[in-house]
Amino acid sequence: MGVKQLSVFLENKSGRLADVTRTLAQANINIRALSIADTIDYGLLRLIVNDPDAARKALADAGFTVALTEVLAIEVPDKPGGLANIIDILAKENINIEYMYAFVGRSGEHAIVIFRIERADDAIPILREKGVRILTGEELQSL
């Protein structure tokens, strides 16, 4: 239950990010969300795209090291406290958030935030019980 995220290992040198975006453009891939985690020497570029499998193949063919992971795309009410409520639910259950970043599109009155959390299988039913909507890959693509 999640959406596919690509992670690309990138050395910190000029032009590497451009190489990724150019490769994706040539494969006609649309980037929907991204975040970069960086250290002094290298970074990890995390991407949500419209066609993860095709994107992965295009990047791998171009010589990039790519990993596929599942993350949660969660609807967050676009109003003060919207994100806080969701994070509170996770905090009460002692579920750590590894990282999160915002999705470009919207779902009606909601923003969408990509979450990578510990114990996702435990977290999903709890979030649902509290009325939090978690989008599937198809739902995300149709936005």
């Binding site: 290992f9 985690a37 250290t39 020497d41 290298y42 090291t65």
Partner: protein, 438 residues
């Protein structure tokens, strides 16, 4: 001109020759009778100890190499029982196992004498304060210089390596007159003193004995000018005895080999043939007085030549040119010997990495050598989390540091970014330019 032991150091050539013939015969017998490795080597070619009646017969004896130490690790090359060994030191081996050397009480006394000659050749006397910044420990540098300085009767400050600001403080407060360290550390001391606003030229420091790594004449000039001292080159390797194998006099014209204790030859590294004086080749040593670890024709892998002209100082001991390179791929980083094969064997044990790596050694001006190991990540290890990569980086770093004994910077790089050359890959980039300008 300064001497510690003028009688020995200026021994007439005839006398030296006779002494060496006699000592070699003794050493060959001692090695043959007490070290199975030598006995085997002799038997393989039908050689008997009585076939060696002097230095002229030396070439009959097979070579000894670092591999012999590895195969006989740890104490198999020793020629005396362990109850006569009073000290053990070790240096890097080509793979996981280090090269272990041992000393009897008499070996330690000989070593102290040789280091007293070394320090004495730069004018060290019992009135001096010797700041010994060679590392103390398994490395022979620290204790070797220490015993020599104590034998002279100088006041030894056993500060060991590192903690550079404190070194300057102590140099200033104690009024150190003699410095022992690696040449690159002498440069760093100079730079650090400048940053601290201390002009070493105004301190009592007078002379430095620098060794354990290759350096150049231009480095000598730089050190002498910035510290206001004489900088002398000293040479040694733990297999032979440690520092004190050869030492420069104030002529600064290449280290004199202690020929009453060691026989030096220069050979063609490919054919093993002995080269005439003045020809560059691989330096080979035979020990003449060592009890615990007699060495017969040990191949140092250091490239140099023997200087046939006598030195103006009056010593009859032959001089070698400063080391001009290596016949193998050994690197000397901050005075520590590092073999690329050691790094490779560590990486092979770590399954998350690709077997592609690059070693980059550099030296910023006025700073210590840096050793970077670039490792390609494998697709399996890359995930969405930086944490797992950092864990891997940390694991490689700590395993390399534990194997090499020096700090290492590991850099994870993208797969297929380290150049693959046809056949043997270029694994080492040394940006220090150590052997030029000598």
């Amino acid at each position: 001109m300064y001497f510690w032991n003028r009688e020995a150091e200026c021994m007439p050539a005839e006398e030296l020759r006779a002494l060496r013939d006699w000592l070699l015969v003794k050493t060959v017998r001692h090695a043959y009778e007490n070290v199975p490795c030598y006995k085997r080597k002799f038997e393989e070619i039908g050689l008997r100890p009585e076939h060696i009646s002097g230095v002229a017969d030396l070439t009959k004896i097979p070579f000894t190499t670092k591999d012999d130490f590895r195969e006989n690790y740890p104490f198999g090359m020793f020629a005396v029982p362990m109850d006569q060994v009073v000290r053990v030191h070790a240096s890097s081996g080509t793979t996981g196992k280090s090269t272990v050397v041992g000393y009897t009480r008499n070996d330690i006394a000989v070593w102290a004498e040789l280091m007293a000659r070394t320090l004495g050749a730069g004018g060290t006397t019992k009135g001096d304060i010797v700041q010994n910044a060679y590392g103390y420990g398994l490395f022979t540098g620290g204790l070797g210089a220490h015993y020599g300085a104590e034998k002279i009767g100088a006041s030894v400050v056993p500060i060991s390596g590192g903690n550079t600001k404190r070194q300057i403080q102590i140099m200033q407060d104690f009024g150190s007159t003699v410095l022992c360290c690696t040449p690159s550390y002498a440069v760093l001391l100079g730079e650090t003193a400048r940053e601290m606003g201390v002009d070493v030229r105004n301190l009592p420091l007078r002379v430095a004995f620098l060794g354990a790594e290759p350096w150049t004449e231009s480095m000598r000039r730089e050190i002498e000018e910035s510290l206001g001292i004489d900088a002398l080159d000293i040479y040694g390797l733990s297999e032979v005895i440690g520092p004190g194998v050869s030492y420069e006099c104030m002529e600064k014209a290449g280290p004199h080999i202690n020929e009453d204790h060691f026989i030096a030859e220069v050979i063609d590294p490919d054919t093993g043939e002995v080269l005439p004086p003045g020809s560059k080749g691989e330096l080979v040593f035979t020990t003449l007085t060592k009890e615990a670890l007699p060495l017969l024709r040990y191949r140092t892998r250091d490239l140099t030549y023997l200087e046939p002209e006598p030195c103006k100082c009056g010593r009859t001991f032959v001089r070698m040119h400063r080391v001009m390179g290596r016949t193998d791929d050994m690197l000397i980083v901050r005075g520590v010997n590092v073999f690329p094969s050691q790094i490779e064997s560590v990486l092979m044990e770590i399954k998350e990495t690709e077997p592609h790596y690059m070693i980059v050694v550099d030296r910023e001006k006025g700073a210590l050598d840096t050793l970077e190991v670039w490792v390609e990540v494998s697709p399996e290890i890359v995930s969405d989390e930086v944490r797992s990569l950092e864990r891997l980086e940390h694991k490689i770093t700590s395993e390399l540091q534990s194997a090499l004994g020096i700090s290492v910077k590991v850099k994870l790089v993208e797969p297929k970014t380290i150049a693959r050359s046809e056949g043997k890959a270029k694994r080492v980039v040394d940006r220090r330019d150590l052997y030029n300008g000598s």
